[in-house]
């Protein structure tokens, strides 16, 4: 019987198809059904769920979105499967938590990206720079690059969702507690911790460390050298390769903590594949899932797309991932979900628009205004939650 994997990842259609081809040898007939854009995909899933005809197998988002979806009771818990996955050491224990709600795993990873800084080794070599190991070195690197006439950091508002990237990173690096508190409503968006982040951020802008936020070709801009360091998820590596960046010249480091923050941390983005209750009862679906997390499946997927799903028994899909893996193996980092997944979905769009607004006019006046508006949205949301 054919199993359909619904998703909104049109850009991975080809690699997903490669996996499906590989699965055919195992007697699995997997069909990839991509949707054009996230909004319409969400509508499709939500409407299906609302009418009680949840698809058996589909991709989703972690964090708040997953919480809401599990609350409908139509998702199948995958505890048994995870037990298998962890039993032979393929997956590290921390991974499961990213896909769990209330301690119960409801999904397996479609991909697992760590948010790191990619950089152009050639520029670093030319200027005699090393990847920064602490906050001060980061400043030095940026200053030197700027002095050499290039822009240190690539950051844009492309597609309207990227605004939070530097915000979440700076907050995590300066005040991890506030990062957690922000997303459950206990820390305000106009609290001192947030204000501090905006201060640092706007200083960096003032020094000319960021590229033009209005570009709509971020990936290509990196190839064109519009920014030397690129803070992004690991999944960008595949795209950079396709756009013609020589991957052997690509370096990676994890953004260092600010002074006074001890615990090494890293931001992780997990894209989940979820299963409906009906899907759980369908052996074909479960067979597909097992294949996905198997070594063969993960390897095929990794090779085809450059994506990592957390399976450590196989070779990393590319040099960057393996470098990050090595670093993480050396020092234990705490994993944090992205701001995007953590924030209630009703707030995502409007909040990120505020970040974007700041990026386009990065001074403290704007910041003040942005913080106020975000906080009022925040209060409105949480107070309406409490009422009902």
């Amino acid at each position: 019987k054919e199993v359909q994997l619904f998703n909104d990842k049109g850009f991975w259609s080809a690699p997903l198809q490669t996996v499906a081809n590989a699965a055919r040898a195992e007697g699995i007939s997997l069909k990839i059904s991509p949707y054009a854009n996230a909004e319409q995909y969400k509508t499709f899933i939500q409407a299906s769920v609302a009418s009680g005809r949840t698809p058996e197998l589909f991709t989703w988002w972690t964090g708040a979105s997953l919480n809401t979806l599990t609350a409908t009771g139509q998702l199948a818990p995958l505890g048994a499967l995870w037990k298998e996955m962890e039993a032979d050491g393929r997956f590290q224990p921390g991974v499961k938590d990213l896909f769990s709600v209330g301690g119960q795993p409801y999904a397996i990873p479609l991909q697992l990206s760590r948010w790191v800084v990619l950089y152009d080794k050639r520029v670093f070599a030319r200027l005699g720079l090393k990847p920064p190991a602490n906050w001060a070195e980061l400043q030095t690197v940026a200053t030197r690059i700027k002095a050499a006439g290039q822009t240190p950091f690539l950051a844009t508002t492309q597609d309207g969702w990227r605004g939070f990237i530097w915000f979440q990173e700076l907050l995590l690096r300066t005040d991890p507690k506030a990062y957690v508190g922000l997303n459950n409503g206990s820390v305000a968006y106009d609290s001192p911790a947030v204000r501090n982040v905006f201060k640092i951020w706007s200083d960096m802008y003032a020094k000319g460390w960021f590229s033009d936020p209005r570009s709509n070709e971020e990936i290509n801009d990196f190839v064109r050298g519009k920014g030397v360091m690129y803070l992004f998820g690991e999944w960008a590596v595949g795209l950079l390769g396709k756009a013609g960046f020589p991957l052997q010249e690509l370096g990676v480091f994890i953004l260092p903590n600010a002074p006074g923050v001890q615990q090494p941390a890293i931001i992780v983005e997990g894209a989940p594949i979820v299963v409906s209750r009906k899907g759980l009862a369908n052996p074909d679906v479960m067979k597909t899932l097992r294949f996905w997390v198997s070594n063969q499946g993960a390897q095929t997927w990794g090779k085809a797309s450059g994506n990592y799903i957390g399976n450590n028994k196989i070779a990393a899909p590319n040099a960057i991932v393996s470098q990050v893996n090595t670093q993480l193996a050396q020092t234990r980092h705490t994993m944090f979900l992205r701001w995007w997944e953590n924030v209630p979905s009703a707030l995502q769009g409007e909040m990120v628009a505020e970040f974007n607004r700041f990026m386009l006019k990065p001074d403290m006046n704007t910041a003040q205004n942005v913080m106020q508006r975000m906080q009022s949205l925040n209060t409105a949301y949480w107070s309406s939650r409490k009422k009902s």
């Binding site: 409908t72 508002t157 309207g160 209005r214 409007e350 628009a353 607004r357």
Partner: protein, 317 residues
């Protein structure tokens, strides 16, 4: 006419007006059943696939429906009250009003200008086709294309850069004052072809004699245009205005694509506001209330058009 009316009354008394009326009604009934037979397929499809969704949405706008959570408690006018108090709605409403105004004013004047320019011009058919061309393209494709015209390193800035010593890097789609005018310009580029064609057809159908009479009466070309051509064109103009108003009210794709990076995108128009509430925030009931407001206005405009058209037609018949 008094004797005639008297006579009529006697006549009607003799033959029985009620009976005549009853027969007339029966005839109308037959006509109506016949009419219904012709309208049935269209009615069936439209009802099933368009009117039912409309009704469903109207009902939704009075609930607290949230797609996922299945909460459909009746909420009365709460969504509408919330609409009025939402600052974004105000902004979106204001922007939509601006859009409507602009989409009537600019395509109409540009279309009229083009129509007058191309009237009786050698090779006009090709020029007309080129002006009409954008209308054939998908609005999203148009949006993407123009995105690159307006990009900081885009075509527009490059052209402007020719006239200035410094490189121009205006972010047309990123500045509050520029984004709406910029998109409106694209809208005009896209829609004035149709307006032009409609006006050309209207112009071609004008009677030639009054125009010549005005020339004989001593009117200069501009005066002929102002006093004769324009008033005679009124029925066509009215129709074009109404179509433009409706287009202005429901414009979405262009705004969505071109405004994607503009932080305040949701306030660009009511339609965008509605989309934002529904698809990004899952506020379906609230979005439905917005849609009902838009639909109400559109319907009112259509109704107004039916009323006005008859009047204007009568004026220039």
């Amino acid at each position: 006419m008094n004797p005639l009316m008297q006579h009529d009354q006697q006549l009607l008394a003799r033959i029985g007006l009620a009976q005549i009326k009853a027969r007339e009604r029966a005839r109308q009934g037959r006509q109506f059943r016949l009419a219904l037979r012709f309208m049935a397929p269209a009615l069936l499809l439209v009802t099933a696939l368009l009117l039912l969704p409309v009704l469903y949405n109207i009902w939704l706008s009075f609930t607290q429906w949230q797609l996922f959570e299945g909460r459909d408690d009746f909420a009365g006018w709460q969504n509408y009250r919330q609409l009025w108090s939402s600052p974004y709605f105000d902004e979106a409403l204001g922007n939509t009003a601006l859009w409507v105004l602009a989409s009537v004013l600019f395509p109409l004047t540009a279309g009229l200008g083009l129509a007058l320019l191309f009237r009786q011009m050698p090779g006009q058919e090709w020029f007309k086709s080129i002006i009409f061309l954008p209308r054939i393209l998908a609005p999203t494709a148009v949006g993407v294309m123009w995105y690159y015209v307006y990009a900081p390193q885009g075509m527009l800035n490059q052209v402007l850069g020719q006239f200035s010593s410094m490189p121009v890097e205006t972010g047309w789609l990123f500045e509050e004052q520029l984004v709406t005018p910029a998109i409106i310009l694209t809208f005009v580029w896209q829609s004035c072809g149709l307006v032009m064609v409609l006006l050309l057809l209207g112009l071609a159908a004008l009677p030639r004699d009054p125009l010549e009479a005005a020339r004989m009466d001593g009117a200069r070309p501009w005066q002929v245009f102002r006093h004769i051509t324009l008033p005679l064109l009124a029925p066509t103009l009215l129709m074009v205005v109404i179509l433009s108003v409706l287009a202005g009210f429901t414009v979405f794709d262009l705004l969505w694509v071109m405004g994607a990076n503009y932080p305040q995108q949701r306030t660009l128009s009511l339609a965008v506001f509605m989309y934002f509430e529904a698809f990004q925030k899952n506020n379906w009931a609230f979005a439905a209330a917005t849609a009902v407001v838009i639909g109400g206005v559109v319907l009112a405009v259509t109704w107004l058009q039916t009323l006005l058209q008859a009047r204007v037609d009568r004026m220039v018949r």
